[in-house]
Every structure is written in C-alpha cells, then in structure tokens.
C-alpha cells in the first residue's frame, strides 16, 4: 500500500484519497470549510492549504490526492501563516454575533478561529451587510454570517437535485438566496443547517431553543421510513430538542429528510397520551396503572381477541407481543399495520431520488421476518382488538370493535378506546429494527419514558401479574426500568 508522510508521521492510504482524509485517518486535523466528503470539491475557502515538499506554492489538501512518498507539512510556518490569514479574511465581514447565534458551540468558524486564527482583529473598515430574504419554514438565513463556502449551493445541485439555492452577483457582494425569498421546495432542507459551517443557515425549528453545550447526543436510528437513516438525538434532561443525521455510508451517507428530522416532535406533543386512560360511561378518564391494567384485563378476558402490531415497534417488542398473544390472549392472531398501501416488503420501494421510502415505518422488514401477516380486516367473531403501536404506524379502521391501545397514541384517535396503556416512543427505548436492506440497527433511549408511560416489557409484566418473565417476554425482559 502506498505511504506518505504528514507532519513526520508515515501513513498508509488507499489511492485516490485526498490529503484531508488521509490526515484524518492518522488523527491529524487539517481545517476546512468548503470541503465536504459528500459534495464536489471546489478548493475555494483555501483554509486547508498545506506545504508539500517539491511544490513551491501551498496546495489545498482537499483537492490534492496523496501520492506514494509525498511529504506534507500541515503545521509549517507557511501553512500556519496561511491558516491565520484565511481566518482573518473570513472574519473581517463577519458580524461576530456568537452570543445570539444558534451555531455557537458547534461552529466551525469559532472552532477553527480558536485553533488556527489570530486573537486580534486588524479590520477597521465598514463591514459589508445584506438584507435577508426568507427561505421558507425550515431554514433561517443570516447572510451576514455567510463565509461563501458554497456547500449549500452544491448540495442543492448535487444532492437535493433542486437548483433552488444560488449565488447572485459576484465578488464580495455575492449573496446566496432562493429566488425572491421563495421557500425551499426540497424535502431535505434541514440538511442545509447541518452542512453550513457557520450560523448563516440554521433551523427555524431549533432557533433559540437550547444552547448546544447543554445538549447530550444519543446515537439512534430514524423511524420515519424503512431506510433507517442513522441519526443523533440531542436532548437535555427529559426533553428532545432536535435530531440530526449521523454518517453511515451504507444507509444514508450524511443526509436525512425533513420528515424524519422533525418526526421527533410527537414525543412531546401535548396531545400524546402519557397517562393511562380508561373509558366508562362514554367518557375517558385518566387513571393509575392498576386501574388501567384492570380495565385492559376486563376487556380481553374470555373474549376472542385480535392483536395488531405497528411495524414501528422493535424486534424485541414484537417477539414479546407474539408470546403474550399466544399465552395470554388465547392464541389471538397477530397482524401488522403501518403504511396504507404498503403491506409487504415487496410493496416497499424508493419514492424519491435520495432516501425516502414508501413504508412510513422503520421495521416493516423486521415484522415480516417474524412471520407476522399484514392486517386486512378484523377477523369474523373478534370481540376486541389489542393494538400495539410505536407512534408512527397509521391506525387502520377497526369499525366498532372495542380497542385496547398499548404504546404511543394521541387523544383524538384513541378517544373511544376501552383503555390506553401509554408506552415509550423511539426516543425513549432501546431496541432493534431492521431496515429495508435487512440491516439490523439499534434504537437507543435518549430520555426516560415521557410522563407515566412505560416500557412495553414493564406493561406486559404488569398485565400478566408478574407471570414468569422468561415465559412471556424473554426478549423484552431487559427493558424494565425502575
């Protein structure tokens, strides 16, 4: 394998790898702005310029592939001087309003300025300013903060496939806009906030919500469709504040769609049922768990039941439910539901050029692998339906059949349920889901179950009055929280 030397370190690399990536593989940071592994290379920001033996001028590391025997210095006097001067140039027209900027704390401009820039500002002239146009409901633009890295323009062209973000004019007056403030049409608008290295493009949804240094990140997987984009859940205490994509070259590369990104809002939706409920005399009442379990038992004992499971549940939950249905619901048939019209894995397909899939639940593949059949209609003679659901699967029409709901439900849809036993959403539980390709991926709990909701294992345990854990719910046994 070819070898090169960076800052005295000998590093092996695969042919065709640029110097930024080769350096990174050896733990050496070369700062950059315009470079992004998922976008075309433009070598514009000049931040990554390094000294290469035998070449008189500094070369941009992003556009230079390593060659066998190449000797590179990223911290030579000339490289360091260049980094300082590029940082200086980038900041002379920047408003330096970190104190009110959402990006603060995860801003490349801040970080690289601190590590590679100068502590002094020599600029004494007037800064160039812009009047901001709107960009629609997802992205907030602040053109004064822009450092013209053009990642957004390239993303529009190369990834979103909608040339709706462009640069107008030229030189120092270059302004990056949508046409006449038209809202972004792409379904990947949230990615603009991810790739913008400054606070120029930020999420309106997250604006002024929380300082990022208070947030913790838990790696998880999006439940928005069967792609299973990897993502991070950012949270503090018991609240989720945002989700952004996590790189996975097999699944979603660096991106995720807006539907998936903003899906988490239902977790804290005030219309989400987070206290057990029962129905009596046509009225819904909030009750404690004992009463709710009692109502559920009453609704199902001695009755022919049918069990519906959302394909938004995890493998562990599904296996537990299958055992429960067999042993505690008289061998009730189990059917899955999720996306109308997408009943099987064969029905599922790509619905756009990038990530989105027809199945709006993340575990269709998993549910099928467990041999569960898609729901068609309530079987003849069924007297009660027990519906288990994660929060995403679309409830089918169950006619006048009495329903016991276990999992995540919302007031309107559950208003006639005999009982609601509130469960954990994707952000509150660990579990395995299988994406469209057959890859097993892990959900990880970021926050505790909201309100009085419980993990499924705990609910089933309670319902079976502590019947042998291993018999009923071995797979879900590990889910019990205090």
């Amino acid at each position: 394998m070819p070898k090169c030397t960076i800052d005295g370190k000998q590093i092996e690399f695969a042919a065709g790898t640029n110097l930024i990536e080769v350096a990174k593989s050896a733990g050496i940071e070369i700062p950059f702005y315009c470079y992004h592994p998922g976008l075309s290379i433009v070598a514009q920001c000049r931040m990554c310029a390094v000294e290469i033996e035998g070449m008189p001028k500094l070369q941009t590391a992003c556009s230079t592939n390593a060659t066998d025997g190449m000797v590179v210095k990223t911290n030579s006097e000339r490289s360091v001087a260049n980094q300082k001067s590029v940082m200086e140039f980038l900041l002379i027209n920047h408003p330096l309003d970190c104190s009110i900027c959402d990006k603060s704390g995860e801003c490349d401009l801040q970080d690289f300025s601190y590590r590679y820039g100068s502590a002094h500002m020599r600029y004494e002239e007037e800064r160039r300013t812009f009047v901001d146009d709107d960009m629609g409901p997802i992205i907030k633009k602040n053109m004064n903060r822009c450092i013209h890295c053009t990642r957004c323009i390239r993303f529009a062209d190369e990834i979103a496939d909608k040339r709706e973000i462009v640069a107008l004019q030229r030189g120092n007056h270059t302004e990056i806009v949508t046409v006449e403030g038209k809202p972004l049409a792409t379904e990947y608008a949230g990615c603009y906030a991810d790739i913008c290295p400054t606070g120029s493009l930020t999420l309106k949804d997250f604006r002024f919500q929380k300082r990022v240094w208070f947030l913790k990140k838990t790696p998880s997987v999006c439940e928005g469709c069967s792609r299973g984009c990897n993502m991070d859940i950012s949270w503090e205490k018991d609240t989720v504040y945002r989700c952004n994509p996590r790189t996975n070259m097999e699944v979603n590369k660096w991106w995720m769609c807006d539907e998936g990104r903003f899906n988490f809002h239902y977790v804290h939706n005030p219309l989400r049922i987070v206290e057990p409920e029962t129905m009596s005399d046509g009225r819904t009442a909030k009750v404690d768990w004992d009463k709710a379990i009692h109502a559920a038992t009453h609704a199902t004992t001695g009755k022919k039941a049918v069990v519906l499971v959302g394909s938004d549940l995890t493998q562990e939950e599904l296996q537990g439910i299958q055992k429960f249905a067999t042993k505690k619901l008289g061998g009730a048939q189990v059917f899955h539901f999720g996306t109308p019209g997408v009943k099987t894995v064969a029905d599922d397909k790509d619905i756009d050029h990038l990530l989105k899939r027809a199945s709006k639940t993340a575990n269709l593949n998993g549910v099928e692998k467990l041999g569960i059949q898609p729901f068609d209609k309530v079987p003849a003679g069924a007297q009660v339906a027990v519906v288990f659901r994660g929060g995403r699967a679309q409830l089918p029409n169950l006619g006048s059949t009495p329903v016991v709901g276990v999992g995540v439900f919302f007031t309107e849809e559950a208003k006639n349920f005999a009982a609601v036993l509130p469960g954990a959403s994707f952000a509150e539980k660990n579990g395995t889901i299988i994406n469209w390709k057959g890859m097993e991926q892990k959900l990880q709990a970021a926050i505790p179950a909201v309100g009085h909701s419980k993990q499924l294992a705990e609910i089933l345990l309670h319902w079976t009055h502590g019947a042998a854990k291993e018999e009923v719910i071995p797979a879900a046994a590990g889910e019990i929280t205090a």
Binding site: K162, R163, E164, I165, V166, L168, Q169, R170, V179
Partner: protein
C-alpha cells in the same frame, strides 16, 4: 402555461443556435443577450421565460444573469452611457468627464435621469485604451472623448 412575451424572432434565433452546442444550458448567455436586444432590460418575467425555454430552474437563470455586468436587471434609459474610468482612461481624464456628465445631467453616476432618457454609469476597461477616454453609448463605442464631444452627444439625444 404563462403567455410568451419574447418575440418569434427570439425563438427562431435561439432554435438556430441549438445544434451549435452540445448542451441546452450553453444557450443561456446567448439567450440573455437576444432577449435584452429586444427588451432592453431583463425583467423577472423575461428571465422566467428564458428558464422555461432552456428547461432549467429559474434560480439558475438569475445566478448567471446577475454575475455579468452587461445584463440589465433593472430598466435603463434610452441612452445608456458607460464611461470607462479604468487605468488608461483615468490617465486621460475620464473621471473629470464623469463628473462633468453628472453635473450636466443632474444625476449621480449609476442612476437614470427622471425623463428616462439617460443612464450614466462607470465602466471597466473597454479595450480602447489607445483612443482613451472611451465609452459605450448603448452598443456603440465612442472614443477619443472630450468634454465638448460629450456635450455634443448629450445635446444630440
């Protein structure tokens, strides 16, 4: 479908150019020139129509049109005076010439007279340095400019 505002002549001229380029997008600069020839300036409507003809996003037309200084994205006067004030012309008194025009027309450089007759602008090097000072009057070059020659032109129009 929006009604067409560009003439048949525009579409004929553009269709003639199609076989000369391997891509449709390469027609963009010629299209903007052709449209400006008949409309004098490029309104949003015109830019959108060009976008439709070439089959690209309207934003793409604007990013190109706004990059180049010759495309008028705002209305211009009947007589567009573009006086070069770059090195060779400034050596031969071009900035005094501009000042003179500002006074004579009563407008600041970069603006149009109230009667929409004259637009006065500074221009970069026009490639007529040997006959400096020089300017463009609409599409034509006027070279070896003097104050009196300038006055004559202003009076004539």
């Amino acid at each position: 479908m929006k009604p067409k505002t560009l003439s048949a002549k525009f579409y004929e001229a553009m269709d003639k150019l199609v076989p000369r380029y391997p891509t449709r997008v390469a027609l963009l600069l010629p299209a903007l020139h052709q449209a400006q020839e008949e409309k004098r300036w490029l309104s949003d409507e015109t830019l959108d129509e060009i976008a439709t003809y070439i089959d690209i996003h309207p934003a793409q037309v604007r990013e190109v049109a706004s990059f180049y200084t010759m495309y008028n994205l705002k209305p211009v006067g009947k007589f567009h005076l573009k006086i070069c004030t770059n090195a060779a012309c400034i050596l031969r008194g071009a900035d005094e010439l501009v000042e003179h025009c500002e006074k004579k027309l009563g407008i600041a450089c970069g603006s149009t007279t109230a009667d929409q007759l004259f637009t006065l602008a500074e221009e970069e090097c026009l490639g007529a340095c040997g006959t400096a000072p020089a300017m463009m009057l609409n599409d034509d070059y006027v070279e070896n400019l003097t104050v009196s020659k300038m006055d004559e032109i202003l009076a004539r129009h």
